[in-house]
Subunit: 410 residues, 2 copies
Amino acid sequence: MWNVLNGVRILDLSRVFAGPAATQVLGDLGADVVKVEEPGKGDEARGFGVTKEMVESGITVSPSFVALNRNKRSVAINLASEAGQRAIRSMVRECDVVVNNFRPGTMEKYGLGYEDLRAERADIVYCQFSAYGNVGPLANFGANDVALQAHSGLMSITGEADRSPVRCGTSVIDLHASLALVIAIMAALMHRERTGEGQMVESSLLRSSAHLMNYFYGEYWVTGAIRKPMGTANHLSVPNQVFPTADGSVVIIAPGDDMWRRCATALDAQALDRPEWRGMLDRQRHRADLIQAMTAVTLRLGSAELIDRLAPAKVNVARVNNLGQAADHPQLAAIGAITSFEMDGREVKAVASPFDLCGIPPAPNRPPPLLAAHTDEVLRELGIGDSDIEMLRAQGAFSQPRTTTSGDSR
Amino acid sequence: MWNVLNGVRILDLSRVFAGPAATQVLGDLGADVVKVEEPGKGDEARGFGVTKEMVESGITVSPSFVALNRNKRSVAINLASEAGQRAIRSMVRECDVVVNNFRPGTMEKYGLGYEDLRAERADIVYCQFSAYGNVGPLANFGANDVALQAHSGLMSITGEADRSPVRCGTSVIDLHASLALVIAIMAALMHRERTGEGQMVESSLLRSSAHLMNYFYGEYWVTGAIRKPMGTANHLSVPNQVFPTADGSVVIIAPGDDMWRRCATALDAQALDRPEWRGMLDRQRHRADLIQAMTAVTLRLGSAELIDRLAPAKVNVARVNNLGQAADHPQLAAIGAITSFEMDGREVKAVASPFDLCGIPPAPNRPPPLLAAHTDEVLRELGIGDSDIEMLRAQGAFSQPRTTTSGDSR
């Protein structure tokens, strides 16, 4: 972690992916992130994808929780209890940012809405993350990543031509949303630095999905075009897709006219460097013929040979890796994209935040917290005395709710 | 646009998607973004996906360029000319941030590397964006979004089970990278505010892709699992996928135990609320049976009926929209996710940056710039006198390079 946000304390009431991924980046930047979880149960993501085999081999916390919750401390507070709500309001006085992703209205129901919390701390940055936003016909619909892949039309352009759409294999809308939240929070902190004013900032899975779809919507608004799935190909340029080789497959991309010329020359000038394919619009128009001619050439060559010919010609070419090949590729470690921390006595690897600040040496990471591990420590740091902590405890602030409230979260 | 970054001037030498998408967010936040383009030709993205039909109907700039280049001014400078390089070095003295996405070494070749530019402006924030990072075995490989979808393994988990992988339909790695760049630049500006120090910040398509794949890599590193495509389903929880209905299809997601119970009850308690499916691990183990039983139920109901039953039960459910349905859905406009600007005398809609700063009223947007429209204006603002501008012009700083250098960009 870096020291950029040292001194910024974040009370993170969010769970599952987008919110926790956002606060992890803020933690990586040096913020003090206090993760508030439900007593006894914790962030549901702790259990996601944990199989019987994993439990039997000693893995009880999910890889997705581990991937998104380093550099945080965990306190367990029952938000449904009046004492728990009082504890949060006390804590907010010493915090700079509050993050939540409850359904619209839930925080208000708990007495923890923006107006409630700014009464405790006037310059609080209050971050509301939701599925579809706080107003409009879908405001009260719950959703997750896959729901927004469907709603946004991303699914409708992902898949093989003339077959059913599929999802993008990773939680792209959640993770993209997480970086949007980080930006919104940093912008609000910069605004506060200059003006002394806090504010509410918002984002949603819907806004994240729309940003990912921006040029498709823009095209539709102007031309009415409704794009469809194209397998591995791309409507923007030709060639720009996977090609089969003698021993596997590679992606070859040569969008610009110069790059296409170099590509054609490096592969088979006679077959490919045709005058009628030299312009970008020409290649679009003759897409099918060009792909067929390219395929005839690539099928004659091995993947390594293709890469050896195209890379030096500065044509974009890449292997189609599986997860293991990708995760273990030496390039990933070489650029510092892998970070680590100690957990249960062993070194655990994780993907670093997706940027590097070359002028600031990083400090070691905190591992993802055990549920409730820091409740007393954090409350004390936030100025709540031992006798008050005991009273809150006696009143049920830190105990499991009688009926679980997790169903109210998105 | 908001006023958070008013006073921050960004010299943006990047082209195509990730860099321009990043600087658009910075422009939306109030930075003064000066887009440096190649004289005569401009950012290649100006031509992406422009078809003959579009040109004939008066659309000469691509929807993707329009989607990613508002709130910028364009200056055209030939970076391959000595006079052009001198112009850039002069401009840098009055800039806070420089962004580029040339291949590693190109900026240095132009005399515009970090060391060169910090000699002009000691506290410059220098943002280097590349395909695979600046070091390591792939540092000199060019790539684009699809190449990294292949390299990162994202493609290997996207598609139908037991069929060839496909790409995620949008440029998810580029756009995710753009938000990572914004964070890195804002972090560097905050660090500069506190310490007076500039620095180099970096990101890459590889880092963006790794962040999107973080929990898959994390799982692989711990368990060795190499996930495969699952159509619309998800290895993390069951049910979490598209189901066919009597008249279409909907996504139904009920990952938690409580939500699953509500889902089963709302649909067909007798068929679905079975004791052996009540725990998350149970549903994983009995995935095939559960999906089969769910499908038998959903096929009997229309999509609207399914939504009417599941939404009030707080079960996540969503329609599978096409691009037009998604772009025109009233929810998108209701939450302010659509912005606009005037271009060629008409109002053009675009997707807003993916967050809202509720405490800061936004100002109107600038439309995407015509190529080179602001060259003289910007140079003058940056303190370069008219006679110097004329000299630079006479020396070829603003003219088309004799042999195009676009092939050197990634």
